[in-house]
Subunit: 330 residues, 2 copies
C-alpha cells in the first residue's frame, strides 16, 4: 500500500476514508450579522469540562467573525439536511434566508431540524496549519432523535448499525452461503411479503391478482401489454384470463379504446385494493419499527440504489411520464 | 428540544449523534515499547501543510509515551476490524500480540488491513479539558480501498452513499408510493432474480424446482415436510408431484428411512445445481459491482438485520443444528 510521492488529491482521498457527520457552525459577528459554515472537522474533546472542537480555514470570510464572537453553535445535521449543508458550504449569498432561526448563547443563530445542537463558549483558538482550531466549552445542548447526515469519501451518506453474524455454518463449493445477495434479498422479501399474503388470501386473491390491482391503483387505464411490461419480470401471470377473472368478480372493468382494451379498477376494486394497501402499510410500519428508524432510512436508500443499478428497463410504474408516453403512443 | 439540566449521559448521547470513523493511534514510547489506543476523536485539520489531530484522555496510561514519542501513526480502521478496535479500546494486555506489524516514521508500529494509514510527526500538543489534543504533520500515508468501519450513537456501523431520488410522482391516499418497503424489496429481488431465472429456464427448470434443488445442495437427505418448512413461505410448491418429477428426470433420488422418504440430489442433480449456483454467484458479482463494494457491505448487513427481525420462525437452512434437531426427531 505505500505511496511514493505526496499527491494532494490522494491525500484528500485518504482523509476521506475517515467517515464523519456534517455540522453547520454558526456565530453572531461583532457587527451583529450571523455567520455560518459547513464543517465536518468537528469532534468531541473533553467530557469534564464538556468541550468540543472544529477547524476553520484561515482563508474563510467568516474567520474574523468567529474569532471575535466568543461563542459558537454547532448543528449536527440530520439525514434530510443535505440542501442546508450545501448552502452553508458555499461562500456569500444569504445563507440564513428562509430559515426559522432560534438564538443560542452569545447570540449565535440556531437552526431547526438538526439531529443535535451544541451551544459553546470559545475556550481556545489554536494554530493548525492553514486552519485555526476552535475549542469551545459546551454551555447548552439538545438533540431531536432524527437520524444524522454522514459524509464519507467526499459524498453524503447514511450509516447503519453493523450486525455481527456468526460465520455461515455451511458454504458450498460454488461459494453459495447465507451471504449470497439473491438469497438474502429473496428471504427478506418473502418474509415481509408472507405477512401481506395472509391478508391477500383472506380477501380471496392470488399474488398475481394483488400485483395487478396494486399496479392499477397507482394509475389505471392500462392495456394488458402495459400491465405485463411492469409485472412479468416478477414472474407474474397477468394474461387475459386473470384480468377477465377479476372483471367477472366485479373488481375490474374493461373499456374499449382505439388502440386496445384498457383496464380500470371498479369502485369496489379500488376500495378493496386501497384497503389491502393500507394493510400492507401497517405491516411495513411494524417491520420498520423492528429495524429502527435510522436503519430503515439506510435500507430504503440502498434498495433504491439496487433497483436503479439492476433495472432491466422496466416502465416506471409511478412516473407521470410513462402516462405521457402512453398517451403519445395512442 | 431544549434540555434543562446538564446530564453527562445525555451529553455523551448528544455527541454520539456525530458519526465518526474509528482509528487506532500508535507510537513507539521512549522505552522502545509500542503503545496504541482506539480513538474516534480523529480529524483532518490542514491540507497545506498536511495536518491531522486527535485527542487523548489525560488519564490514559499511554499519555507519556505519546507525549515523548514525537511521532504517531493513525490507522483508519476498515469494516472488518471491529475486533481490533475493541482490543485497542481496552487498557493493558498485549494489544499487539499476533498482529503482523510494519514500522512507521519515528518507529510507530503500523497495523495491516486498514482503510488508510497516516504517519505523522507531532507538531503541537494542546490543552483540551480532560484530554490533550495532538496535532501532527502527515509525513507519509497510504490507503487500501477497504470500506471503513464507522461509529455512530455508541455502536459500530457501516455507511452507505445517500441516493437523492426525486420525490415520488404518485402517492396514493393509502400512502403507498415508491418508498414502500415491500415494493422496494420485491422490485429489487425480482430484478436480481430475473437474471438468475433466465439460466434456470435455460436449464429446463421452474423457479420452484430451482429452490428445491438449491435447498438440497446445502444439505440433502431432507423429508418433503422439511423442504416445505423452509420454502413454503416463499409461495414455493414443493409437493410430492414436483419432487417426483425431479426424480423422474434423474435429478433427485428418494431413499426410504424409518421416519419418512428422504430426498437426495443425484450426482447429475448435484452437478447441475452447483452449475446454476455458480451462475447465480456470477450474477451476484455483477450486481454488487454495480452497487460498489462499500454499499454492498452495507446492503447485506441491513438485509441480514431485516431477515432476523422478520423471521417467522423458519428452520435455519444453513445451520447444522437443524440437522441435529432432525436427527434427534428421527
Amino acid at each position: 500500500m505505500p505511496i511514493p510521492a505526496f499527491d494532494p488529491r490522494e491525500f484528500r482521498a485518504t482523509l476521506g476514508t475517515f467517515t464523519t457527520g456534517v455540522t453547520i457552525i454558526t456565530a453572531r459577528g461583532a457587527d451583529g450579522l450571523p455567520v455560518g459554515v459547513t464543517a465536518n472537522s468537528f469532534n468531541s474533546v473533553s467530557l469534564d469540562p464538556p468541550m468540543v472542537l472544529w477547524s476553520l480555514a484561515k482563508s474563510s470570510r467568516s474567520l474574523q467573525a468567529f474569532q471575535q464572537a466568543g461563542h459558537f453553535a454547532v448543528h449536527i445535521l440530520s439525514a434530510g439536511q443535505e440542501e442546508l449543508s450545501n448552502r452553508f458550504a458555499k461562500s456569500g449569498a444569504d445563507k440564513f434566508s428562509g430559515v426559522n432561526l432560534g438564538e443560542a448563547a452569545g447570540g449565535a443563530p440556531l437552526l431547526p431540524d438538526c439531529s443535535a445542537r451544541l451551544q459553546c463558549r470559545t475556550s481556545f483558538v489554536y494554530e493548525g496549519g492553514d486552519h485555526l482550531i476552535f475549542v469551545g466549552e459546551v454551555v447548552a445542548f439538545d438533540r431531536s432523535g432524527l437520524p444524522p447526515l454522514v459524509f464519507q469519501a467526499g459524498k453524503y451518506a447514511v450509516a447503519t448499525r453493523k450486525v455481527t453474524t456468526p460465520a455461515p455454518a455451511a458454504t458450498l463449493d460454488a461459494g453459495w452461503s447465507e451471504d449470497h445477495l439473491p438469497y438474502l434479498l429473496g428471504r427478506a422479501y418473502f418474509q415481509v411479503y408472507f405477512r401481506i399474503r395472509e391478508q391477500v388470501r383472506a380477501d380471496g386473491l392470488s399474488d398475481d391478482e394483488y400485483f395487478i390491482l396494486s399496479t392499477l391503483a397507482v394509475r389505471d387505464g392500462r392495456t394488458q401489454a402495459e400491465i405485463e411490461a411492469g409485472l412479468s419480470h416478477a414472474g407474474c401471470n397477468c394474461g387475459f384470463p386473470v384480468l377477465a377473472g377479476l372483471r367477472q368478480r366485479g373488481l375490474l372493468r374493461g373499456e374499449d379504446s382505439p388502440r386496445d382494451l384498457l383496464w380500470f379498477l371498479s369502485d369496489e376494486g379500488r376500495r378493496r385494493t386501497l384497503q389491502l394497501i393500507a394493510g400492507a402499510k401497517d405491516i411495513e410500519s411494524t417491520v420498520l419499527d423492528g429495524l429502527g428508524e435510522w436503519d430503515a432510512v439506510a435500507l430504503k436508500n440502498l434498495l433504491k440504489q439496487l433497483v436503479l443499478s439492476t433495472d432491466p428497463g422496466l416502465p416506471d410504474l409511478w412516473s407521470p411520464s410513462s402516462l405521457h408516453a402512453t398517451a403519445a403512443g395512442a
